[in-house]
Symmetry: C2
Subunit: 520 residues, 2 copies
């Protein structure tokens, strides 16, 4: 076996991201700073993982491939064994790794929200399929509905460090699977002009949704030119087995030009090995198998490796989302994706806590820092998720937006040059004022180098007591109420909405999409 060594590309820490370069004044934080400073794996360890990936794909293969996949992969050199498993020759895997697109745009409805993906430029956003929602008024867990999803979308539309909006909740008021997919996309697209992601469960619904978006965006072919929607496609049921309907959806997504997250979400210790390295191997295999399928359909597909492994609490078997082992696994996967030069996504910044307490913050802060500094291109589920992904909470999106600012600042890192090394400033200060408070450097760097989270409290205790001893949750509640009573995006017109309601079973009343009826 020929040993191939890939050298990670040179990273420029502190470099402005393309998104930042386009803004008139760079800010301390933003989308697209280059990660990869954190390397949980040595070069040698990455090579060992890579060679095990090739062994697994070639020798163990995958069960339950759909016919179109078998046809494409066998035509490219793969083979089926007598147990019905599809095998991938290592040459094919290497070729797709080398040839699949490394850089692409994931467009927002509003182009100011376009995401420039590739090169381990870190973006953070939402995600999930939470069946429950913490009711804003009662604080109790209850089923989530389409209007909740719409409210979350328009809340996230106003939160700077949430760079895209992946659907967060299941619309449990939708009467069937198709209506769930249609309503999910419509409520999300109506709530935000950021890039949107959703899961679409079969190929037909993919075509339905593209038809809806074509209509909203100006006619047939509009969506292909500007694919404002991603599919999160769970094309595998781990370990190493395809999900037939989702593969069908994946094929449809590739054929319509939709952006694609190739999602492998095993649970270490349950549906993937308890050993962290083994779960990384398996998740890389599963996402690469999806990428090969997509690549054989469309060489220009805008796909990312959706390395989203979770961890089991091995005392109970329950999935846990805030564990440090999860942070390590997704960081390892992100480093592997960077080694391949391929964009990836992962889930981090979640919590097992039921409430926005200190546990929630600690778990989010730890796993997000690991994933982001390892260079994950897209970090999903990074805001608002509670109870091991079972539920979302409005205040938490607002709270976590500050956390994501801290994370972006962390990824941006330390700028080292003659100015920042500060020899001259120190020389002036020790022979002058004796402090740096009024120095030009301090004033210049105040806005560009330091992040000030809008919900973050830095008051002295006495002031904090005077203004009511508020927690970050208290402050976030005020922001939620203010935003949701005022911010109703209007990029979809009344006429368009009426037409959509004629064509599809839209379960959210139109009145919920207008001010004055709710959130007074």
């Amino acid at each position: 076996m020929a040993k191939r060594v890939r050298r990670p590309r040179r990273k420029v820490h502190g470099e402005w991201s393309p998104e930042q370069m386009n803004s008139t004044k760079p800010k301390a934080v933003g989308p697209g700073f280059v990660g990869g400073q954190y390397k949980p794996l040595t070069d040698r360890e990455m090579e060992r993982i890579h060679h095990t990936v090739l062994d697994v794909m070639e020798n163990l293969g995958f069960a339950q491939a759909i016919p179109s996949m078998v046809e494409l992969v066998t035509a490219a050199g793969g083979w089926m064994d007598d147990k019905g498993r599809l095998h991938y020759p290592r040459g094919l895997v290497e070729e797709v790794i080398d040839k699949a697109p490394k850089h692409f745009i994931m467009p927002g409805w509003d182009s100011k929200h376009d995401l420039e993906i590739g090169g381990q430029r870190v973006h953070t956003g939402t995600g999930g399929a939470a069946p429950e929602f913490i009711d804003f008024e009662t604080g109790k867990y209850r089923a989530s509905y389409t209007t909740d999803l719409y409210d979350i979308a328009r809340l996230c539309d106003t939160l700077d460090n949430i760079h895209y909006f992946w659907r967060t909740n299941v619309c449990r008021d939708a009467p069937n699977m198709r209506d769930n997919d249609i309503n999910t996309v419509y409520a999300s697209i109506a709530g935000t002009t950021k890039h949107v992601g959703a899961s679409l469960v079969i190929g037909d619904y993919v075509y339905d949704v593209v038809e809806m978006l074509d209509y909203l965006m100006g006619g047939e072919g509009s969506f292909r030119k500007k694919p404002v929607l991603s599919i999160s496609c769970c094309h595998v049921v781990p370990p190493l087995r395809f999900a037939e309907e989702s593969c069908d959806a994946l094929e449809a997504a590739a054929r319509t030009g939709m952006c694609i997250t190739l999602l492998s979400a095993p649970q270490a210790g349950a549906t993937s090995p308890a050993a962290l390295a083994g779960t990384i191997v398996q998740s890389m295999c599963e996402t690469l198998a999806g990428l090969i399928f997509v690549h054989l359909i469309d060489k220009n597909a805008r796909a990312n490796l959706g390395t989203w492994p979770f961890v089991s609490d091995l005392r109970t078997g329950a999935m846990c989302a805030g564990a440090p082992e999860l942070g390590l696994i997704v960081a390892g996967c992100s480093q592997m994706a960077g080694y391949y030069g391929l964009p990836n996504s992962c889930a981090a910044g979640m919590t097992d806590s039921k409430v926005p307490d200190e546990q929630a913050g600690m778990e989010r802060g730890n796993t997000l820092t690991l994933a982001a500094t390892a260079g994950a291109d897209l970090i999903m589920e990074s805001a608002g998720m509670h109870a091991s992904l079972m539920a979302t909470n409005l205040e938490s999106f607002v709270i976590n937006n500050d956390n994501l600012g801290n994370i972006s600042r962390s990824v941006r890192g330390i700028e080292v040059n003659d100015d920042t090394l500060s020899y001259d400033v120190m020389e002036r200060v020790i022979h002058g004022a004796g402090h740096f408070l009024g120095s030009d450097q301090t004033i210049e760097r105040m806005e560009t180098d330091f992040y000030y989270g809008p919900m973050t409290d830095r008051q002295p205790p006495s002031t904090w007591e005077q203004v009511g001893e508020k927690t970050i949750q208290d402050r976030a509640r005020e922001r939620v109420r203010q935003t949701l009573s005022q911010h109703y995006p209007s990029h979809i017109s009344d006429a368009q909405d009426a037409e959509i309601r004629k064509r599809y079973n839209i379960v959210m009343p139109r009145e919920n999409m207008k001010p004055s009826r709710r959130w007074k």
Copy 2:
């Protein structure tokens, strides 16, 4: 100028720490795992910082050196300029970097708590000089007293991921500086058998404290053999100016064999440059200047570079402790210390929040992950601190102990070998059970690879509702009350205590050191 390139030593991620090797069964987390996987600076950037450090020390020098320091440094090649600044030739700086001890023990009163320092082995513990305390019964901020410090010490004595106890609070019931130092050390030593740290403000108090410890440990010379106490010595008043009394204390500490933290705590934008790289340069200079002094007194001094820079909120000038920029700076300093091969300490895991809310958790999780994975040997203030170091809170020590477990697990990283790569396990599972739940690997790795924080909630929402909808703070309160009503360490006898009270002005009543009087 000769260019010297230091190669970071090879790290073995996932390797057991010496402390772990001594235990009968290794656990998922513990003291002394090797950090350094996170490298915020490139090799070239470290070289540039190093050369700027040499330039600053040689050309700008330090103000207000004490006579004994001037004598030692000038004898070693340094010089005083006409403005009274002490300058360090680069050869001297390089020599001390190379010759100062790289590995040493910081002993605990109980040897099971000995810390094996060096090689970027990460240890986490407390620290601080908080003047206030959040009253356990009222939840209100108030002055902190000696009994609070003692209670915190014995609480931390029971928390596994707090590896040492640095004093956290000022004893505001001590009538003067000397009594504050004596009472701080006595309350801390009486409350825990872990290694203890404190600030001692002048040389005389250092000798007083050593005399006290010699008595408690069995007679004159006992402390030098087993220096269970560290001094946190703020030998500089940044920028680049010595603190005369603290240098006197530092000299005394070096002469008595005390463990030493050479503390440089500038505030970026106020007492050091706003540019993060400049603050790293200055903090390295200030700690190295301390190390040179100590090294010229005792070649075997157990000293660490106390690179503890803070960040200013430049809108108000206030110190902030939870900022992501702080995480970056201390990570950069830790990487520089690793580049020199010298042990360092830093402060991370603090919060600006007044309460244990989600802000507190996010700030702690972010800055701790950065500092720890960068390989800080000792992370101080990593539990219990609130309000930008103004106050401590009992529940927070218990809450943060879980966070520190997550951090230790993160530092330990991903083990890559034939077993963990899991090819064989996957092969068996896909042709057998179809899942990994009952596999030997899963069962074997349950305790050694996964950390289960005792305060961390991973219940399903319904169970969580049934048991009272508790936050982590609620659970921690129960643990605080239980521990403090029961755990009274007894390594100091009644007779010793009576003798100490004869010799010194001990302000905490003896009855507070016994069960049944408080915390019923």
